[in-house]
């Protein structure tokens, strides 16, 4: 593990009991994610993509192996310590925007601050407006989720993910519910955020979307079958 490492999977397995015999969602997976990487995790349904993302995000635990976020080993952490990692280092973007319907766009963006146990202040709001501006929705700050299009709602969820200045953003099929044009816009936004140094791990089954990533990891039956770099980008040293 180098100083540049954001996350590390070392022989990570995840098994579920199905009757008598265990079924492996992940099997001895080794992945190192470096700062500033943009990774697409691909694979057919049931290949373990979402399980990998959940373990990386600390919302699921592996059956075996070690998982690190920065210097913190998270596979054996208590719930309380895990939530602090989630608060500070990890942000999620889901297939659906998953905005709280009762909150406006800016309130949804500020939501992570409600759980950071830090008193809110005007600067928080300024920062939230800045994040909304970054995703091109500064003028829709006071709109409720039902007043936003699917693409706009997803942009709000991206702004929300940026609020805690996370070390890594995990996106699970972030364009799965969007039309292709809006999906491309989101991909361009991801590219732009990555070019600013943000580390992104995106689960997708769409090769077109994966082509935006600098690195593609393919899973099959819980195993990494391919880990390649997209040559149209400058290859980083692994």
């Amino acid at each position: 593990m180098t100083n540049n490492t954001i996350a590390l999977f070392r022989n990570v397995s995840k098994a579920y009991k199905m009757g008598e015999s265990p079924v492996f969602a992940l099997s001895k997976v080794n992945i190192e994610i470096k700062k500033g990487e943009y990774i697409a995790v691909m694979g057919p349904s049931g290949s373990g993509k979402s399980t990998l993302l959940n373990i990386l995000g600390g919302i699921d635990t592996p059956s075996d192996g070690e998982v690190y976020i920065g210097d913190d080993r998270i596979d054996n952490l208590s719930e309380n310590k895990l939530l602090k990692i989630r608060q500070k280092k990890i942000a999620y973007i889901f297939q659906e925007a998953r905005l709280l319907s009762s909150l406006t766009a800016i309130e949804n963006v500020m939501l992570p601050f409600a759980f950071r146990q830090i008193k809110g202040n005007l600067k928080d709001k300024e920062y939230a407006v800045k994040m909304l501006d970054k995703v091109g929705l500064g003028k829709r700050a006071k709109h409720l989720p039902h007043q936003l299009s699917g693409g706009e709602a997803q942009r709000v969820s991206i702004a929300r993910a940026l609020m805690n200045d996370p070390a890594i953003i995990l996106a699970d099929e972030p364009t799965g519910n969007l039309d292709s044009k809006t999906g491309e816009e989101i991909m361009e936004l991801f590219g732009s955020l990555n070019s600013e140094g943000l580390t992104l791990v995106m689960v997708t089954h769409d090769p077109q979307k994966a082509s935006h990533a600098k690195r593609v990891i393919r899973l099959k039956d819980g195993e990494v079958v391919e880990d390649t770099y997209n040559h149209k980008f400058k290859i980083c040293e692994v």
């Binding site: 919302i59 709280l100 009762s102 909150l103 500020m110 409600a114």
Partner: protein, 404 residues
């Protein structure tokens, strides 16, 4: 952005759920508030009645046992109290009452008030009883001070005619009037005097029904009993006055009289009322528990429908205690809403129920009842939401996402 902002937004956004849940609480709170307001206002009314009717002293001449037996029915002749002893008796009474309050140490006594609440002054109603034969029938003639007698025997009502206004007028007990076939306007010969019947009393189921009443002065004059009275009825006019102390003081300090307290019945009446109110309250508490079960189901159902949000908040780093707080804040807001609605409905109900239960009731709404309604509504919803909130906080993020 704080957790209570999120709770406030959630509660105001989910209006139907909030109102539905709040109404469940409001119904129970309104029942409780209406019972409390009606009971407390009714208690004042009861105390007012007890003050007039229940708490009294009877002061009679001290006499032998054989003479006392005649007084079993509250009437009798032959022994007297000097009328000019009355100021002394009143003074002794007042002094003993003040001392009694001070001894209890919990209420301050000032002129016309007890513990800050206004009460009318006590009434000392003297009577002179004399035996006479009227229209061939033996009868007890009562000399009274009409103004004081009407306070002392507030149930007196005239069925025919009017109360006597002049010294040559009398009123008759109903039975005496019927038996002697006497009518309003008839002239009766009592002693050596001719008296005009000004009115006939309604039946009272007491010895008054077979008596003739005239003014005290006239009675004293006709029967040659100047400055003499047979008894004094003292209406305490306050529900909790230490009448026992007053009776002891009068017996001790005023020679030749015997004062008897008659507050036990009033105390029993008050206790019966309080027990009835307690029984009603227990029914209301039961209804609160039923409401709490309803709230429990609604909140639990709401949590199941919000698994997605719970998963999101946990993924964002919300801790168990923060999630519990979020749900309890929501419950508290619903409880406050229910408490306010319940207070409004309960107050309205007490204005409807109160006059049905207590004649002449004056509904008194204490601001503390408002506070009580809100606290009760809030505590009930919070109590009903504790388990659902803990349940929500235990949901694992991955499970929450899988269930979608």
């Amino acid at each position: 952005m704080r957790i209570y902002h999120v709770a406030l937004k959630e509660v105001s956004k989910r209006k139907i759920r909030t109102i539905y849940t709040a109404i469940g609480i409001a119904i129970a709170v309104s029942m409780l508030i209406s019972v409390i307001i009606t009971a407390s206002s009714g208690e004042v009314e009861i105390f007012r009645v007890i003050a007039r009717y229940g708490h009294s002293l009877t002061i009679m001449p001290a006499e032998t046992k054989s003479q006392q037996s005649l007084k079993t029915f509250g009437i009798g002749t032959g022994s007297y109290i000097p009328e000019d002893a009355m100021p002394n008796i009143e003074k002794t009474y007042q002094k003993a009452i003040v001392a009694g309050w001070e001894k209890m140490g919990q209420l301050t006594f000032q002129e016309g008030t007890i513990g800050g609440a206004a009460f009318p002054p006590p009434t000392f109603a003297p009577r002179l009883y004399e035996e006479a034969t009227v229209k061939g029938s033996d009868v007890i003639v009562g000399g009274v001070m009409l103004e004081k007698e009407l306070i002392s025997r507030f149930w007196w009502e005239i069925s025919e005619g009017k109360f006597m206004a002049n010294d040559d007028e009398v009123i008759l007990g109903k039975l005496f009037a019927v038996i002697t076939e006497t009518k309003v306007g008839d002239i009766l010969e009592i002693g050596q005097s001719k008296m005009k019947v000004s009115g006939i009393l309604n039946e009272t189921d007491s010895p008054d029904d077979y008596m003739v009443f005239m003014s005290l002065k006239t009675c004293q004059k006709i029967f040659g009993k100047h400055n003499k009275i047979s008894m004094i009825n003292v209406r305490a006019m306050c529900p909790k006055c230490p009448l026992g102390d007053a009776a002891i003081a009068i017996n001790k300090e005023i020679l030749g009289v015997r004062a008897t307290s008659q507050s036990e019945i009033a105390t029993a009446q008050s206790q019966i009322f309080q027990k009835t109110a307690a029984l009603l309250l227990s029914f209301v508490v039961a209804s609160l528990i039923i409401s709490a079960i309803g709230v429990f189901n609604i909140i639990l159902g709401s949590i199941h429908s919000r698994l997605r949000d719970i998963g999101l908040l946990k993924a964002m780093g919300a801790s168990r205690s923060q999630l519990i707080r979020l749900f309890l804040y929501e419950a508290a807001l619903i409880g406050i809403t229910g408490g306010i609605i319940g207070f409004a409905i309960g107050t309205g109900l007490s204005y409807v129920i109160g006059p049905i239960l207590f004649k002449d009731i004056v509904i008194r709404v204490n601001p503390l009842f408002f506070l009580m309604a809100i606290i009760l509504g809030t505590l009930t919803t919070i109590a009903a939401s504790i388990y659902p909130a803990i349940y929500a906080s235990k949901i694992k993020v991955a499970e929450a996402f899988k269930s979608l």
